[in-house]
Symmetry: C2
Subunit: 291 residues, 2 copies
């Protein structure tokens, strides 16, 4: 890995550990640009291996075999990553770079860097869905999506990881791990916490209101259909930032309650109008597609 990563990827061998929605989509995305012998998927469950194999991907149940590659991408739930890395340490070649697709970065860095040093390059592609498993995977899931990269001290390793996510369709952005975690707490994790809170609160009435749910509530609570185990892991891993963001929501709700209690609809309108401006800004901003 002495030359530039972007130029190395055409010959690099990549192993994807965990072919769920994200890992499966990454495998299908890289299948578009890599030769079949450059790509290997590791999976514990025989049933899922059959699905992956049927998609024309090479698959193995041997962790040892899977790490005999240039880049290993951890696509298991964040809370399972440290243990998986600990298992592979005994036979992980020094040349192999390890990256991941986890939704938090600082806690992973704290857990993985002591084991991997500069061999670990953090990554987080901002794409997903409330669906799960290889059956929901799509080759175009990452097309035009932003991928955050937490660089390691080894620039060559950082570049090969960047080349990989770029080849998968992502637009890249380098970021320090703590900044990443603060941002995703607010633009991703918070909505995954509030959508369930909303549906739980809406259900809480003797009139059984959920029978009458329409498209507004269904859209607003779509993320409440996400995998509970996966998201319990993510919210717990990013706990300080998620708690801080939940406090901010509590303060906003208190502000609306005060506006409503004032009896002055103009105050409520100003509160809603500020929110609308913020929403229009973020609905308009989309990441550029990587050239």
């Amino acid at each position: 890995m002495t030359t530039e990563g972007a130029r190395l990827l055409p010959s690099a061998r990549v192993a994807i550990l965990g072919p769920g929605l994200i890992g499966g989509s990454l495998a299908l995305a890289l299948q578009r640009v890599l030769r079949a012998d450059q790509l290997l998927v590791w999976c514990d469950a025989a049933e899922e291996r059959a699905l992956v194999s049927a998609a024309g991907l090479r698959v193995t149940s041997s962790l040892e075999e899977s790490v005999q590659t240039d880049v290993v991408v951890l696509c298991v739930p964040v809370q399972a990553m440290p243990e998986l890395v600990a298992r592979m340490l005994a036979f992980l070649p020094a040349r192999t770079t390890v990256t991941d697709a986890g939704s938090v970065k600082a806690p992973l860095l704290a857990a993985l860097e002591p084991m991997l040093g500069a061999r670990y390059v953090g990554a987080h592609p901002m794409a997903g869905s409330e669906k799960r498993g290889f059956a929901a995977a799509r080759a175009d899931l990452f097309d035009g999506a932003r991928c955050f990269i937490v660089p390691s001290a080894d620039e060559d390793r950082t570049r090969i990881v960047e080349a990989l996510w770029k080849a998968a369709g992502c637009h890249l952005e380098r970021i320090p791990a703590p900044t990443h975690d603060a941002i995703v707490a607010r633009v991703s994790h918070l909505a995954h916490a509030l959508a369930p809170a909303l549906i739980r609160a809406a259900a809480r009435h003797p009139s059984k209101p959920l029978r009458y749910a329409g498209p507004g509530l269904r859209d607003t609570t779509r993320l409440a259909s996400s995998d509970p185990a996966l998201w319990a892991g993510i919210l717990s891993a990013n706990r300080p930032e998620v708690l801080d963001a939940l406090e901010a929501v509590g303060a906003e709700i208190a502000g609306l309650q005060a506006a409503l209690r004032s009896g002055d609809a103009a105050i409520v309108e100003a509160w809603l109008a500020q929110a609308r401006i913020l929403r229009e800004e973020c609905a308009a901003s989309r990441p550029e597609v990587a050239p």
Copy 2:
């Protein structure tokens, strides 16, 4: 109005007051089943009258002319309805039935019944969009949507209003006004309050997180793009129920915060899993299409 409303509609003349998203869509929906001379749209703004007229609808700026019909449908913002009815009282024929498409029912009943008595039949079609104005109106907006009906003491008038909304494509459900308001606070108004709270809270960080918003946040906050003046009126009109529902959300958020602080991801997972069950139930339940 002595024979059944449903059979009367084919010959009834209908006036729609306010051709916004809802009133405009109702006009376009009824245009599919009524003759041109049965349908009249009232509108103050000359610019909007031109749009409505271009869609092949008869339009007037005379409130007096518009109420010389069998059914008048109030499609202006809820807070403007009492004043509009007060203006039309002087020339409103006794035979004319008045209904509305407002998102709250008990406060409207309290304001309109003293003026109209049994001539007022409340209605609320559960359809909409964050868009506004006649330009966003669609003939199929109500197809398959539920329409709540708050019956008046006059069964014939209630039936002609039901016939109207059924002709527009709705599935009907009679309901007492207070029950209606408790339900819509939870399945509609609460999401319109929380989507803005979420986007406001997500924006509150030095890292300017909204630059990084993805489809999850955009979907969850879609309702924050709704018309602030319209929704300030609705939330204010349904204040007691909305405040109660916001308290329930606050309690749910506190529950999640406690689960996160416990450090036990299994508690967080159970909280998310319960929400997922509720969401799947409400995503599955859709109103039957009226036969």
